[in-house]
């Protein structure tokens, strides 16, 4: 869900990664050594840009003595390309969204997490250990989570929105001032939920119904926008947008009239996770890294600075109350989040979602 901004550059990166690495197969799961000398290991961690403290490498190295290199990716697809290109990507720990972790696991690329080396998992909310893409967090550890809803200017709308229908068939005063997300799974979400279907549908008929609705909605839209919708709210160009909760907070930071609501028909629950790659030769250090991130004061940084909810109870309790008051959607409880449908990978069906998005965007 995170950081689609300037994915443009990633296009060029693709060319290079297809040329990369084609040697050495993966090592099979071997028992980890709890007494391994971690300072002899080193880590390469791939994470979305600006999604972790700028001094993470220094503080982690100071705390554990493990040398670490942090590399950035722009999108899930970007890092998936590197990880699935074959051979050893050189990455030990990769941050990917839940459904991508699931895909990596199904491709046999993830290592199972050794929970004896990750005692801080007990900081997580109980709900965060039973997410549909990976119940029990066997191969992925949640880092941040949230949902998708409506982000709007309460001072510009005559009525507070409550339903996806307010977006799909906007009132006259909002017509031409709404935006929808451009990424296919989320573009389909409002219509799917409004029609009472699953966000993880693999039924072509469902997508046909979604397409019919979106073709009606498109003429009422200002734009499809993944990255700058909140600036459109701030400038008043848009009054109602489909938004990820954390991104809506960036708008709220600039204009307190901006509010966030999850429509009554329900929405998705997305998760960004940490995975350890099977090819990693530094698995003990990788587990230590995940354990370090799960410490309350490390993960509370994410909530306070990225304004995303974290699935870490101890960390959420440590968040400055002033921040929780300023950004109400940070206060959504795990139970409220769990009412939403956990988004999972739809595998072979995913090109159908892309085709739907292309059809809608290309329609005259």
């Amino acid at each position: 869900m995170r950081h689609k901004a300037l994915t443009l550059l990633a296009a060029t990166a693709l060319a290079s990664l297809t040329l990369s690495s084609c040697a050495s197969g993966g090592t099979d799961d071997v028992a980890l050594d709890p007494n391994a000398d971690l300072t002899k290991q080193s880590l390469v961690v791939s994470i979305w840009a600006d999604y972790s403290p700028a001094d993470l490498a220094e503080t982690f190295e100071a705390a554990t003595g493990i040398p670490i290199t942090i590399v950035n990716h722009a999108t899930n697809e970007d890092v998936m390309g590197k990880l699935t290109a074959g051979g050893d990507s050189g990455i030990d720990v990769a941050f990917v969204s839940g459904q991508y972790a699931q895909a990596l696991h199904e491709a046999g690329l993830t290592a199972n997490l050794d929970k004896s080396l990750i005692p801080n998992e007990s900081n997580l909310y109980d709900e965060a250990t039973k997410l549909a893409y990976d119940p029990g967090n066997e191969y992925s550890m949640p880092y941040a989570w949230g949902t998708t809803g409506l982000c709007y200017r309460s001072d510009l709308l005559s009525e507070e929105p409550t339903s996806w229908n307010d977006l799909l068939t906007p009132a006259p005063d909002a017509t031409g001032k709404t935006t929808m997300l451009a990424t296919e799974r989320w573009m389909a979400l409002p219509a799917l939920k409004q029609l009472g279907m699953s966000v993880n549908t693999t039924n072509p008929d469902d997508l046909a119904a979604v397409k019919e609705q979106l073709l009606k909605t498109k003429p009422t839209l200002l734009a499809f926008d993944d990255t700058t919708f909140y600036t459109k709210l701030v400038s008043g160009e848009a009054s109602l947008t489909q938004a990820w909760d954390g991104w809506c907070n960036y708008g709220i930071a600039e204009d307190p009239n901006i509010k966030f609501v999850v429509p009554t028909e329900g929405s998705d629950l997305w998760t960004d996770t940490m995975t350890v790659l099977k090819t990693s030769k530094n698995k003990e250090a990788a587990m230590a890294f995940i354990n370090y991130i799960l410490e309350a004061d490390v993960q509370s940084w994410v909530a306070e600075n990225i304004l995303y909810k974290v699935p870490n109870e101890a960390a959420m309790k440590a968040v400055d109350p002033a921040i929780l008051a300023a950004y109400p959607n940070l206060n959504m409880t795990p139970a409220e989040l769990l009412k939403q449908e956990v988004i999972v990978d739809v595998g072979e069906f995913s090109p159908e979602f892309t085709k739907l998005a292309t059809e809608v965007m290309a329609a005259g």
Binding site: T18, A107, E237, E348, K355, A362
Partner: protein
Amino acid sequence: MAKKSPTPGGAPLGARRGWAGLPFLTPGTLVLALFVFVPLVLVTTYAFFKRGRFGGVVYTFTLDNFARLADPLYLNVIATSIGTALIVTVLAVALGYPTALVIVRLPPKWRTLALVAVLLPFWTNFLIRTYAWILLLNNAGWINQGLQAVGIIDEPLKMLYTQPAVIIGLLYMYLPLMVLPLYASLSSQDAQLTEAATNLGSSPFRVFRTITLPLSVPGLLTGCVFVFVPAMSNFVIPELLGGGKTVLIGNLIRDQFLKARDWPFGAALALVLTILLVALIFAQQTASRRVTEGPRERKVKRNA
């Protein structure tokens, strides 16, 4: 038959044909092989295989990727791309030709300044320049504010996130690529030709129509290709200025790689685009040669 070498050093002609120059070619050839030939081979190969579920390809031969291109959805996108690029090219000629003509006729001091002004935008990152257009064109933007302030309009004009916004953005981006080859072509024309024509009583329009314009055709064609080719494959401007409501072939290819994880179909689309553009460049080369050398048959006759 040339018996003497044309080179001042007097080396025999045969030596020029030999391998002596090869070391000098090596770096360039390597760069071309690595950055042009290898990717092209990869793209071509991928286009004939099946999609890997997580990106990449499964090495099973198939022609499905090309069959899918026949879907009206994709044909429509290709047609829209060609149409958009054509409009942009025509507008670039309409704006670029007079600009180049004026620059050529400026005093040398001002000419340099004008050329720098044409190139100046390239010194700024193109994303920043595109965002500047968003600031100008949006409903709460400077143009609308200005027009509303002076009372010309009551409601903001809807300019951003429309097809014309995409065309404006592309035109702005690639106009210098039209002006520069035209300038090069116009400034290398022999001034004595126009002087002679004027002395013999031709009107300025006739001078332009019979001398300046025909002699500038190669530059004009080069400019057209320079504008058409990138305009056709740009995917940033349709997204930012078109609000994602217009899909051009560049967006389609990008989405196959970065969203659909369907590399083979993306490769097939890229291959078709490459073939279209190579054909276009070939046509431009042929046309230019005709203009500068005259039709081939005539030349053969003259030689005979």
